[in-house]
Amino acid sequence: MVFRGSTRLAAFDEMLPEVSGLRRPYQAYDRWLKEQDPARLTQKMQDAERVFRKTGITFAVYGEQEASERLIPFDIVPRIISGQEWRRLTQGIEQRVQALNAFLDDIYHRQEILRAGRVPRELVAKNDAFLPEMIGVRPPAGVYTHIIGVDIVRISENEFYVLEDNARTPSGVSYMLENRETMMQLFPELFQQIKVRPVENYPQLLRQSLAAVRPQSAKGTPTIAVLTPGSYNSAYFEHAFLADQMGVQLVEGQDLRVVDGHVTMRTTEGYKQIDVLYRRVDDAFLDPLTFRPDSALGVPGIMDVYRAGNITIANAPGTGIADDKAIYSYMPEIVEFYTGRKAILGNIPTWRCSEPDSLKYVLEHISELVIKEVHGSGGYGMLVGPAATKKECQDFAKKLQAKPGNYIAQPTLALSTCPILTEKGLSPRHVDLRPYVLVSDRIQIVPGGLTRVALKEGSLVVNSSQGGGTKDTWVLDD
């Protein structure tokens, strides 16, 4: 997520809003909770930690030698979404994902949206995430971004906004699955009392979805593999987990080689062809012959195989242009341009500092805004005006003036809260939501997602690298 530091904003609580009292989706859970012995719940909290530690669900934090493997803290109070709320969200997400794929196809072919002047040409042409190598390349089945994580925040009962589209290699889905698994182990009785829609078939859906976009040259059952940068990558656990659950090979660049126009993996029985590669390696490292020559994580020549239509790469190279923060501010226009309708899920109002009027406004209101680097991620390199000192604001203003095109600004929003269990009982914390979307010949959204929670009281930073935790996310079957 995006905001650093803490602010004291009146936030909408998803369980117990101040005005209206206990919300409907939480009623059954609340009844159950009231019957529980607090000591037992505390015990369960510790059990959860032990389960995670034992199964090795850890993530690596860059730059921390000693604590190179840490747990993402897990909170045992679920975040609950009603069936009706979910239906509305999914409509908005589907529309957005359709638009993202249409936008990518257009950008790498006719560029009609640029010709129509709806998105400035230089924003695409000068963008590092735009890959000229992809111009004119049509991926198998016409799908560019197969797996998408849409970060959504809630402001009030009826206001949801998209904070970010993750169209490259969204991570975290293994936490969605393990969180549910852990909750079912800890509280089996809860799942008998409350009907929660299942998420555990995600790996099967992912596998089917990847198989459905196989290249035409693939005969019979396609061979799928997950490409990981290796066991020292921070998301390695997830790569291994997904490969395992899908029943496919987990490969590294060193296992792969182009043989006779196909990408193959080195096995105990020689080299075997791969048809669909779910890669968790960034574009720049994918092919040292095309992109970064020093990369040992990718496969020399894979782009030639790709252009020849002999392998599906998911997500396609160059999809980053669609989730770039500079492009983000044009998403309402993009959605309307390709779907012919207004966006169901809105954007957070965004000032593009590249525009003189916006820059002027942002500089004048710097202490009220959140300012982000266009290409940054993970909450690094940004300013949260309300939490910053005067000096920090002044310093940032200088950076901003030096390279305005590098920044966008957004109002500081009061993200909704959801209670977590603390030693003193329930206490509200800010949350966001990342549902996972699969695109093949259809769009599928697993009912749930990853709820990230800022564990520090008042904090708006939900990033796991900066003290965020996760919760199980329930979509009710009502």
């Binding site: 290796g230 080195r266 096995t267 105990t268």
Partner: protein
Amino acid sequence: MLLGRTANGLYWMSRYIERAENMARLVDAGLRMALTRTQNASEEWNSVLLSAGSDYTFSQKYQDYTVANVSDFLLRDTANPSSTMSSIETARNNARMVRTALTRETWESINEAWMSLKRMLARPIDERDLPTVLDAIKRETALIRGSFYGTMLRNEIFDFSQLGTYVERADNTARILDVKYYVLLPSISWVGSTLDNYQWESILRSVSAHRSYRWVYDADYKPTNIADYLILNVRMPRSLTFCYRFLGEHLKFLADDYGERHACHATAEKIQAMLKKGSIKDIFDHGLHEFLAEFIGDNTRLGDEIAQDYRFY
């Protein structure tokens, strides 16, 4: 079908689990000698280090062959790549790399062993706690073995892991014998000597065979019987013959599965045939040290051939 890298990871994971345990066993035997012998035990510690293949690196770091120095070096020193701590860490890194090939139980047992040994070996070991630490190491590796045998499908994944276990184990047993071969030679040993009794018991103890020996042979330790037990006995789980029985079996499974034989099959069969037709008398006549040196070389070659034939790299 398995990735070559995965086969490699499984093989080394198992070798290092085996090694982690062997180190504890060697220290255990050394400790026993140090406690039961009145004389200076440094000679015994030196042969422990020789068996572990760590005498040179040890001498770079230490002057004195004491319980504290040797056990620290062989159990917890992460600068020693073969120490129990280094071994379990390497085993776990390999397991982490191949974790999709392992059952949850197997992975968890390795991860837990790593966590608990890391905690236990974080500080220098108090001599009084050494027996407890050695037991804990053996227990952790036994838990890994238990969950591995109890839950893993008997397929190529199992085969490659077992190849690692038995190549390492055969190497270990052969080295232990080779370091002490002279105390087993008839010309030097004389029956009834208390000194040699200790030496012999130490050999058996370092392969956890001091009790089972008595079930198979007479209660008295005899050098030829000890050598026979560790080299030729078909049922002794750490004997060379036992190791090669299983190496042969797992290589055959792989050949059947893949429908292809390699150089490693010929090598394993050659060694197996040699062990089968040999008698302990022949081995002593040929020269025990020569026999063991040759075996260690062949065993190493088999490991290299497996890596090459199954595209580990």
